[in-house]
C-alpha cells in the first residue's frame, strides 16, 4: 500500500468536513487558521501549474494555538508535498493538462469548504472588531476566485493518471507483510543506485540468482493463496488471476534458468565475491520472506500463512510490490547487459569467436585453445542466447507484475523509480513573492522561516 495523490486529497476533504462540524468563536484563531489554509492552497495550486492571485491575509496579533482549520491546511499541504517530491521519470507520463485542471478544482473546492465554515463562524461574531472585519473583507475577495477555480473542471472524470501518483515506498511497516513490501522496495532501490557499467559478470550472475529466488518466493505465495482461496471463498476472478500469475511466474523461471545456464556456458567469471548493494539488500528481503512464510526449516502451511481474508489482502499487497521490484531489477539487468556488450566488456569463449570470424583467425586457432580461454567482443550475435532469455524473462515478469497489480488494485498507481537525473521544475514562486507577500517586505527570507519551501528543496 502506498499513499497516492488521490488518497491525500480524499483525506483533505474529510478534514474539511471535520472543520464544518466544529465551531470556532475567536476571530484571531479564525483569521490565523484561514490564512494557513489559503497559504497551503496557494502553494498546492502552484505545484499544479496554476495560481491564486488574492494576496494573503495580514494578521497583527500573535498566532494562536492550533485549530481544525490548521489541520485542514496541513492536509492540503500534504498533497502539495507529494507533488513536490515526485520523481521526474515516473511523472513524465503526466502530460494530460485536464488532469491538472481537475486537481486544481478539487483543491479549490476543499479550500472553499473551509472558507464557508469560516464565514459561518464569523457571522454570529457580529462585527467582532477590526480583525473580524478584515477577515470578512478578505473572504469576499478570495471566495469568488476559489469558486471559479473549483468550477473549472468541466471534464468531471476524476484525476486520471495524476490521481495514482505515489511517492516514496510502501507504507511504513505495521506488520511483517508490510515489512516484506518495504524490503522489496529497498532491494529495488539498491539496484537502481548501482551504476550499470560498473557491474561485473559475477554481479550479473548474482542478480539472476536474486531474481530467480524472488520469482520462487512469488510462486510460493501465489500457490498458497490459491490453496487458501478455496477455504476463504475467493471469487472466480481472483482465482483466475492467481492462476495467471502462477503461469507467468512459471514462464519467467524457465527463461531465467536459461539465463543462469548462459552465464555459465557463455561468459567467464573473474574470480571474487560479488558485494553489490543489491545483493546485501536481497539478504534483508530473504530474511523478511522467511519471517513471513517460514518457521525454522519449514514453510508454513497455506492455513497458517493465510489464516484469514485480511492476511490474504496484505499478502496480495506484498506480492504486488515484490513483482513490481523484480520487474524493475530485471529491466536494470537487461539494460546493463546491453550496455556492457556494446562497450565490449563481456567475455566469450575464443572458439565461439573463431567460428563467427574465421577470416580473422589463423586456421586451427579455435581447436588449439582450451575451451576455457575467453576473449572480449562487441559482437551482439555471440550473446544472442543470453539476451533473448533476459528479454523473455523480463517480459514474463512484466506480465506477472500487471496481474499482481490487478489483484492488489494498484493498476493506476504511478510509482517513482530510478535515480532522479533531473527533478521536476518547481513552480515559479520567486516572481510572485514580492507582489503577493505584502507582509514579507523587508524581511530576509533566509532568516524569517516563513517563506514558501517549495522551490528550494
Amino acid at each position: 500500500m502506498r499513499a497516492t495523490y488521490e488518497d491525500l486529497l480524499r483525506i483533505a476533504r474529510r478534514v474539511a468536513v471535520d472543520v464544518h462540524q466544529q465551531t470556532l468563536t475567536d476571530p484571531i484563531t479564525l483569521a490565523a487558521g484561514w490564512r494557513a489554509v489559503l497559504t497551503a492552497t496557494r502553494h498546492h495550486v502552484m505545484w499544479l501549474n496554476g495560481r491564486l492571485v488574492t494576496p494573503d491575509l495580514v494578521i497583527d496579533a500573535p498566532t494562536p494555538e492550533a485549530s481544525s482549520l490548521q489541520a485542514l491546511a496541513q492536509a492540503i499541504g500534504a498533497g502539495a508535498d507529494l507533488l513536490a517530491i515526485r520523481n521526474a521519470r515516473s511523472t513524465s507520463k503526466l502530460s494530460d493538462k485536464e488532469d491538472f485542471v481537475a486537481a486544481r478544482a478539487e483543491v479549490a473546492s476543499i479550500a472553499l469548504m473551509g472558507a464557508n465554515a469560516v464565514l459561518r463562524d464569523l457571522y454570529p461574531l457580529n462585527g467582532g472588531g477590526e480583525q473580524a472585519r478584515r477577515l470578512h473583507a478578505h473572504l469576499g475577495k478570495v471566495l469568488s476566485e476559489l469558486e471559479q477555480l473549483a468550477q473549472s473542471d468541466t471534464r468531471r472524470n476524476g484525476l486520471g493518471l495524476l490521481g495514482g501518483l505515489a511517492a516514496g515506498g510502501p507504507q511504513l511497516a505495521a506488520d511483517d507483510h508490510a515489512l516484506l513490501a518495504r524490503a522489496t522496495a529497498g532491494w529495488q532501490r539498491a539496484h537502481e543506485a548501482t551504476a550499470p557499467m560498473t557491474l561485473l559478470t559475477r554481479d550479473l550472475r548474482s542478480m539472476t540468482a536474486q531474481l530467480r529466488t524472488a520469482g520462487g518466493y512469488a510462486w510460493h505465495l501465489t500457490d498458497h493463496l490459491l490453496s487458501a482461496g478455496h477455504r476463504l471463498g475467493f471469487d472466480p476472478y481472483t482465482e483466475r488471476f492467481l492462476r495467471a500469475l502462477l503461469g507467468a511466474l512459471g514462464q519467467f523461471e524457465a527463461n531465467s534458468a536459461r539465463v543462469a545456464r548462459s552465464w555459465q556456458r557463455r561468459l567467464s567469471d573473474i574470480n571474487g565475491q560479488s558485494a553489490t548493494p543489491g545483493e546485501v539488500a536481497f539478504l534483508d528481503l530473504s530474511a523478511m520472506f522467511n519471517r513471513v512464510a517460514r518457521q525454522d526449516d519449514r514453510l508454513l502451511q497455506p492455513d497458517d500463512l493465510v489464516p484469514d481474508e485480511r492476511t490474504a489482502l496484505r499478502l496480495l499487497d506484498a506480492l504486488d510490490e515484490l513483482m513490481y521490484s523484480a520487474e524493475r531489477v530485471a529491466r536494470l539487468q537487461q539494460h546493463a547487459v546491453a550496455g556492457l556488450i556494446m562497450a565490449g566488456r563481456l567475455y566469450v569463449p575464443v572458439a565461439e569467436l573463431v567460428q563467427r570470424e574465421p577470416q580473422r583467425w589463423p586456421s586451427g586457432v579455435g581447436s588449439q585453445f582450451k575451451p576455457k580461454r575467453w576473449v572480449r567482443t562487441t559482437r551482439p550475435d555471440c550473446f544472442s542466447e543470453l539476451t533473448d532469455a533476459l528479454g523473455a524473462a523480463a517480459g514474463h515478469l512484466l506480465e506477472a507484475s500487471a496481474v499482481a497489480r490487478r489483484l492488489a488494485g494498484t493498476t493506476n498507481q504511478t510509482r517513482p523509480y530510478g535515480e532522479d537525473l533531473a527533478a521536476p521544475a518547481p513552480p515559479a514562486l520567486e516572481a510572485e513573492r514580492s507582489r503577493l507577500r505584502e507582509v514579507a517586505i523587508g524581511i530576509d527570507p533566509s532568516t524569517s522561516g516563513q517563506e514558501f519551501d517549495g522551490p528550494d528543496r
Binding site: 510460493h220 545456464r261 556456458r265 519449514r298
Partner: protein, 112 residues
C-alpha cells in the same frame, strides 16, 4: 604425505558439487516453481567456494542434498584457515547452512 587442510577443502568441494548436481536435476524436472527459492543461497555457496554451477557431474546423484550441505558446513567449521580468511570461513558456513535450510523447506513443502 597428505595435507589434512587440503583434504577437508576438497571434501567440501566434492560435497557441494554433488548437492548442486542433485538440486539442479530436481529443479529441471519438477513443475514446482518453489525450487527457484533456493537459487540465491546456492549461488552464494558456489560463488564463495569458486565452484562453477551447471557443470557436468559424473558422481552419485542419489542422496539428500541438504544433508550433504550440512556435512560440508561441518567440514568448513573445522577448516584451518589463516586469520584473513576467518570471515570467509564464517560466510561459507552461513551460506551452506542457509542453502541446506532452503532446500529442506522446499523439499518438505512438496511432500504436503
Amino acid at each position: 604425505m597428505s595435507n589434512p587442510g587440503a583434504d577437508a577443502r576438497s571434501r567440501v568441494d566434492e560435497l557441494v558439487r554433488q548437492a548442486e548436481a542433485i538440486v539442479e536435476a530436481l529443479e529441471a524436472k519438477a513443475a514446482d516453481g518453489r525450487w527457484a527459492m533456493t537459487a540465491f543461497s546456492r549461488y552464494r555457496v558456489c560463488e564463495l567456494l569458486d565452484i562453477p554451477p551447471y557443470g557436468p557431474y559424473g558422481g552419485d546423484v542419489d542422496a539428500d542434498p541438504a544433508a550433504l550441505l550440512d556435512e560440508a558446513a561441518r567440514y568448513v567449521d573445522e577448516l584451518d584457515v589463516p586469520i584473513e580468511d576467518l570471515s570467509w570461513r564464517l560466510a561459507v558456513g552461513d551460506a551452506l547452512r542457509s542453502a541446506a535450510g532452503d532446500i529442506r523447506a522446499v523439499r518438505d513443502a512438496r511432500d504436503v
